[in-house]
């Protein structure tokens, strides 16, 4: 019995390490291809643009809505709670900490995982099932440089751009939403907010968004490219892409937040 358990655990560990080694190989090769992107941009630029269009521009409405709602909610709740203690000036600190430092990159990452992570994984998986990858390879085009690298760059660019929008809409839209309940002057609001906002906060937000975008794009592409031949594998790989992306985004968020506080 114990031998069987040990065998099972060992097999599982070997599979996992094998998967991880495979991922590291894929990741290393993708990085290498990224440096070659400038030379191959004639063929990959269109893929990159379409990826930014799909991942960034088409998600802008949803992101704007969520950002304005969350900004407004934080201001309203903050006024209600902090006002009771006579600490209304802390609202700016909370806005900067919650929206700029933390929520903007994290929420944008979740939305991109839900929209684009699944789409990339499914699309690449279906391309394998339909032998499109083999066709590309047959004419000498590297699937990594043509399919993976522009998608990863597209996700990173979209992630970064959406984070900027999220921050600005979260702060301006938040003020606009909360104005209906607490008429605060725009100048007063932004004078206080800009006094609290540091360059390091903006830098922290953008660093997170770039790393999250890179992780989401790479994991989604890897899981999509892992489909062997059956169409039934595609949804399985898509689910794996979502779960792994969420897990890694949260782990990276903890690490990066800790690193920024230590710095």
């Amino acid at each position: 019995m114990l031998v069987q358990i040990a065998d099972s655990l060992g097999k599982r560990f070997a599979e996992k390490t094998s998967d991880f080694r495979e991922f590291l190989h894929f990741f290393g090769e993708s990085i290498r291809q990224m440096f070659l992107f400038a030379r191959q941009r004639q063929v990959a630029t269109l893929v990159l643009m379409r990826q930014i269009l799909f991942t960034g521009f088409e998600a802008l409405t949803l992101i704007s809505l969520i950002a304005a709602a969350i900004g407004g909610l934080i201001i309203i709740e903050g006024h209600l709670v902090l006002g009771d203690f006579g600490q209304g000036q802390l609202l700016n600190v909370i806005l900067v900490t919650v929206i700029v430092r933390e929520l903007s990159s994290l929420l944008v990452a979740f939305i991109i995982i839900a929209r684009s992570g699944t789409a990339i994984s499914t699309e690449l998986g279906n391309m394998i099932v339909n032998h499109e990858i083999e066709a590309l390879q047959s004419i000498g085009i590297s699937p990594l440089s043509y399919l993976v690298v522009p998608r990863v760059f597209g996700v990173v660019a979209a992630m970064l751009t959406l984070t900027i929008y999220f921050n600005i809409i979260g702060l301006i839209g938040g003020w606009a939403v909360s104005y209906a309940f607490f008429p605060i002057g725009l100048e007063d609001f932004y004078t206080g907010l800009l006094s609290e906002l540091q360059v390091v906060d903006v830098f922290s937000s953008f660093t997170k968004s770039i790393i999250f975008g890179f992780a989401i794009g790479t994991i989604a592409c890897y899981q999509g490219m892992k489909v062997a031949f059956a169409s039934t594998e595609v949804p399985q790989r898509t689910i794996k892409a979502v779960v792994q992306s969420l897990t890694w985004v949260i782990i990276l968020d903890i690490l990066l937040t800790t690193a920024f506080y230590v710095i």
């Binding site: 643009m49 930014i52 269009l53 960034g56 521009f57 600490q87 004078t191 006094s195 903006v202």
Partner: protein
């Protein structure tokens, strides 16, 4: 969708450019608000501790931000040396004999630092000059000498004043050092004793109220007995009152006999009423005379006493004479020796010895 694919590059370009424009605008606004490009002057500050201090803690003057802490460290004297910058616009606010007041927000844990400007606004402190906080001796001296005035909130002022009061009370060269705490200790002792006394009183009352112990409830039994006694006394007084009223009626009736039986038996009053009346009148006269006699006797009491005393002496002499005659050696055995009289006078006659 075809439109989007056709103008993908433009849409994406606009999408990114707008974001970048907004980002650049935001950064510029932050830079302007935080006066990043304005020339700054650096000064030194010294605090008792680094509680709530951070590298971006603002320095405020009259509630308006004029600079920020840029660095701080622990020095050899176990105090905190800090560097802070002041923008050029407010450079002239930093004058000699100024002090800093660090107040910690208990909710956020952050500190606000208020510049307490020195008395002479023309004596501008040179760059790199030291400004002490009022929680270290140098700063406190400025405060005590009235060179700076603390203009914090009411609670902070109260806390500082209380702190100084306690410090003065506990100073070693103060004759009444520790008086406040002694008073508190005495008050605590007194309250403990009062508490004990109240406990004993409560216990006593509890014991008085118990009926299962023969010694308990004595107070209430006494009170009960007193109540019964007064009740009986009231009854007696009522009866006495009635008796006196009856006596009064009787005397009135006898003084003016108008009863039916008396009228029938003695209509003229000659046989029955008149003799009684005369008897009473005589009795009244006799009583009056007796009263006068007693009053006379009472007034003559000293003379009567003297007469009695003389009579007594005379009788005593006579007795001795008679006894001497009886005891004559010629007749009998002579006069017997007289014993001394009792001091208290209980023995009226001398005691004879044989």
């Amino acid at each position: 969708m075809k439109f989007k694919f056709k103008y993908t590059n433009r849409i994406v370009g606009a999408f990114i450019l707008v974001a970048l424009g907004m980002l650049v605008t935001s950064v510029v606004l932050i830079a302007i608000q935080q006066k990043v490009f304005v020339k700054k002057y650096t000064f030194k500050a010294r605090f008792l501790d680094a509680e709530g201090l951070s590298t971006s803690t603002p320095i405020r003057f009259k509630g308006y931000e004029i600079g920020r802490i840029i660095s701080f460290r622990l020095n050899d004297e176990n105090m905190i040396d800090a560097d802070f910058t002041v923008v050029e616009e407010y450079r002239t606010k930093i004058v000699e004999n100024s002090a800093l007041n660090k107040a910690k927000n208990p909710i956020s844990g952050t500190s606000t630092i208020e510049l307490l400007q020195g008395p002479d606004p023309d004596r501008i402190l040179p760059e790199g000059g030291l400004i002490p906080a009022i929680d270290i001796p140098e700063g406190r001296k400025l405060l005590d000498e009235g060179l700076v005035t603390k203009t914090g909130d009411v609670i902070s002022s109260m806390l500082v004043n209380t702190d100084r009061l306690l410090e003065n009370l506990n100073r070693d060269n103060n004759e009444r050092a520790g008086a406040l705490f002694r008073a508190l200790v005495n008050l605590a002792d007194a309250s403990e004793k009062l508490d004990e006394t109240m406990g004993m009183i409560t216990l006593t009352f509890e014991r008085l109220n118990k009926d299962n112990n023969p010694q308990d409830g004595a107070l209430f039994r006494s009170v009960n007995n007193l109540a019964n006694l007064t009740e009986q006394l009231q009854t007696t007084v009522t009866i006495l009152n009635k008796t006196l009223a009856s006596s009064d009626s009787l005397l009135t009736a006898y003084s003016k006999p108008e009863g039916l039986a008396v009228k029938l038996a003695d209509p003229a009053g000659e046989n029955f009423v008149k003799p009684i009346r005369q008897t009473l009148d005589n009795l009244n006269v006799t009583l009056r005379e007796a009263t006068e006699l007693l009053a006379f006797i009472n007034s003559q009491q000293p003379e009567i006493s003297g007469m009695i005393s003389e009579g007594k002496t005379t009788l005593n002499s006579a007795q001795k004479t008679l006894e001497g005659i009886n005891n004559n050696p010629l007749i009998r055995g002579g006069i017997s020796k007289e014993s001394e009289q009792d001091v208290q006078g209980t023995k009226q006659r001398p005691k004879h010895t044989k």
